[in-house]
């Protein structure tokens, strides 16, 4: 419950003046160049207006002038913390338009790298969230593990951030020798570290005080605003495109065992060893959004393990990337995939040439951040970074 | 040092006290800001305290006031703090109702 709506909080008989302050675009905790114009009365934020666009790079316009394969690096730079997932989303929508199936081995490879990148993205989300709340150490703990994932990706495609690995039709290259063992070993190393994260943040008393009951986003509002991903599931809406998406996408996960992580009111998932939901936490608050990500790390680890086995068992190749001059049949296709930050959609309109007529990227963070003004109304100034951080936004994806 | 200061006596302290006192009075008289008036009061009380301490100091005179010279300033300080809190509350209330802290505008006694 926000401060000004809280009937227990009373108004004091002191005349105060409202102050308009600019939080960002240069501010340590707006996760990039987000700018929030806050109307404050003392420490209480009466209103927050997010302003975006400081990182706008006309990606969609550029997409109208490039072949689908050439546009892959531009998807890298959308959610640059989860480039694999961005690549995957774009590759899948082009393949959907072309009705091009990827071989079994390529399918498992895609699941493998996408889920690994999901772990990396959630680790950054966790680490920076600690930073937003004034705790520096989890950030480096998270980056230490993420670094290992980046090392794995470097072995795969030579890049550590902008992979351009998954391309329409397949991938740029198969896994190198011994990579599967490295990956399995990494998972083994990550397993105990997750407990550290929970000790440092999830179950930390101050962390709970700062996040539980703060920035409550009711499920209905989340759906109404188009919020997706952990934000949506943290509000108790059971939707994960890996299970509920279009067949073109869910077929990727055929044969995988995983349960969608969703928070429920008063429901304490006890099928794992991780901390129970604290009593102060309200469904849809910052704590729940954070917790969804933490549990999804474990979930993704499990999927990666399955993918490792399936990939090793699969025969054949990983698919052949389409050529630059590959003619695109006239038509259109829209596909959303479950990226770490939410549902990332690509919309592709073609006119029969090799160059798309129109490319559109539906950003999950764009919808997620639009709810900020709603969540920040009536909170305290210190809650603003907590709320923005819990939405886990990447401005590269919002501004495109 | 010059002759006047050859030996610091109670009188010297009294002069300091007098200066602080007069400054306080002038502050109260001239400041239009309610908080400025409040600061004048603080200075004034402080000047009085200097006198008390000087009279009570056995370092300056053997036949001094003794402990009373210290105990009274203690009460003054404590009461001044309380007074400051109350006066501040009044000033803030005044500001609430009139959006100004100019005491010259405080003609009506009603809030």
């Amino acid at each position: 419950m926000s401060i000004i709506n809280d009937p227990r909080v009373v108004e004091f008989n002191i005349r105060t003046d409202e102050m308009l302050i600019n939080m960002g675009p240069q501010h340590p905790s707006t996760h990039g160049v987000l700018r929030l114009v806050l109307r404050t009365d003392g420490e209480v934020v009466l209103g927050a207006a997010p302003h975006i666009g400081y990182l706008h790079r006309c990606a969609e316009k550029i997409g109208e002038n490039l072949a689908p394969r050439q546009w892959v690096p531009y998807t890298d730079r959308m959610d640059y913390l989860a480039s694999m997932n961005m690549n995957l989303g774009w590759a899948l929508v082009v393949e959907k338009l072309l009705q091009l199936e990827v071989p079994e081995k390529g399918r498992h490879l895609r699941v493998l790298v996408a889920e690994l990148n999901r772990i990396a993205s959630h680790l950054v989300a966790m680490g920076t969230y600690g930073l937003d709340l004034g705790s520096f150490t989890p950030f480096l703990y998270a980056f230490r593990e993420r670094e290992k994932i980046l090392d794995l990706f470097e072995q795969v495609c030579g890049a550590r951030l902008t992979y351009s690995y998954i391309v329409p039709g397949g991938v740029t290259g198969d896994l190198p020798q011994g990579w599967l063992q490295n990956c399995a070993q990494f998972l083994q190393e990550l397993e105990p570290v997750v407990d550290d994260y929970h000790a440092l943040l999830t179950s930390n008393a101050i962390f709970i005080k700062r996040t539980a009951g703060v920035g409550v986003l009711p499920g209905e509002m989340a759906v109404n605003y188009g919020c997706t991903g952990p934000v949506l599931r943290g509000s108790g809406i059971d939707q994960d495109l890996r299970r509920d998406g279009e067949p073109w996408y869910t077929s990727l996960y055929d044969g995988y065992q995983f349960a969608v992580i969703v928070q429920k009111e008063g429901h304490y998932p006890q099928d794992h060893d991780y901390p129970a939901v604290p009593a102060e936490a309200v469904l849809g608050d910052c704590w729940h959004r954070f917790y969804v990500r933490m549990l999804e790390v474990v979930q993704s680890m499990d999927i990666v393990r399955q993918a490792l086995d399936k990939y090793a068992a699969a025969a054949g190749d990983c698919g052949t990337p389409i050529k630059l001059n590959h003619k695109l049949p006239p038509g259109e296709a829209y596909l959303e995939t479950e990226a770490p930050k939410g549902q990332m959609g690509f919309y592709l309109v073609t006119d029969g040439s090799a160059i798309p007529w129109r490319v559109r990227a539906r950003s999950s963070c764009f919808a997620n951040v639009s709810v900020t003004s709603e969540l920040c109304r009536g909170c305290l100034l210190a809650d603003v970074p907590a709320i923005v951080g819990s939405l886990d936004i990447v401005l590269g994806e919002i501004d495109r | 040092m010059c002759g006047l200061l050859a030996q610091i006596t109670v009188s010297h302290y009294l002069v300091v006290g007098a200066v602080l006192f007069v400054t306080g009075v002038l502050c109260m008289a001239t400041k239009r800001n309610a908080l400025g008036v409040l600061m004048g009061i603080e200075l004034l009380l402080n000047g009085a305290n200097v006198n008390f301490v000087a009279f009570g100091s056995k370092l300056l005179r053997a036949d001094a006031l003794g402990l009373d010279g210290q105990l009274i300033p203690l009460f003054v300080i404590v009461l001044a703090a309380a007074e400051a809190a109350v006066a501040l509350a009044i000033a803030l209330n005044f500001y609430n109702n009139h959006t100004t802290v100019d005491v010259d505008k405080a003609e009506e006694l009603k809030g």
């Binding site: 706008h56 109404n224 188009g226 829209y334 | -």
Partner: protein
Amino acid sequence: MVADATLVDRLRHRFGDHIVSAELETIDPWVEVAPEGLVDICRYLRDEPGLQYDMLNCISGVDYLHTDPKKAAQAAWQPHLVVVYHLSSTITRQRLVLKVTTSRWRQDVAGELPEVPSVSGVWRGADWHEREVYDLMGVRFTGHPDLRRILCPEDWIGHPLRKDYQPPEYYHGIRDH
């Protein structure tokens, strides 16, 4: 309910001429609606049991214009704009595509932005998407609470995703490369 003939019939039955056309034999079937009926249809789609399209995933604008006169002559269509709404339901897990076609300029007067009713009253998430379409594609959404540019600076001139958009040579004294 899937975007199939039954749904289209239902919509036609209820909204009549507001349902302009439907294309069901394509990768992503879509229904084209008239701008006048858009808000009512959207509200119906959101609230009607069995449909419950409670989430607006995306609003996209597509500009159909050939800047090359040769190609324009061969094109099967007149220049126009399409606003595409991608809807989905978190309850039935179905997806639906709505399209609204409008002229590139209102009454073909260059510079007058075409108007489409805003659906931000139906889905609040439409607010920012419509601002983006307005900003980049130049469609005025009537009834929008706060239609401002979102990605480009407030004083930007033109709508960059239009096919005939010419980037300015100077912006506040800064030369374009």
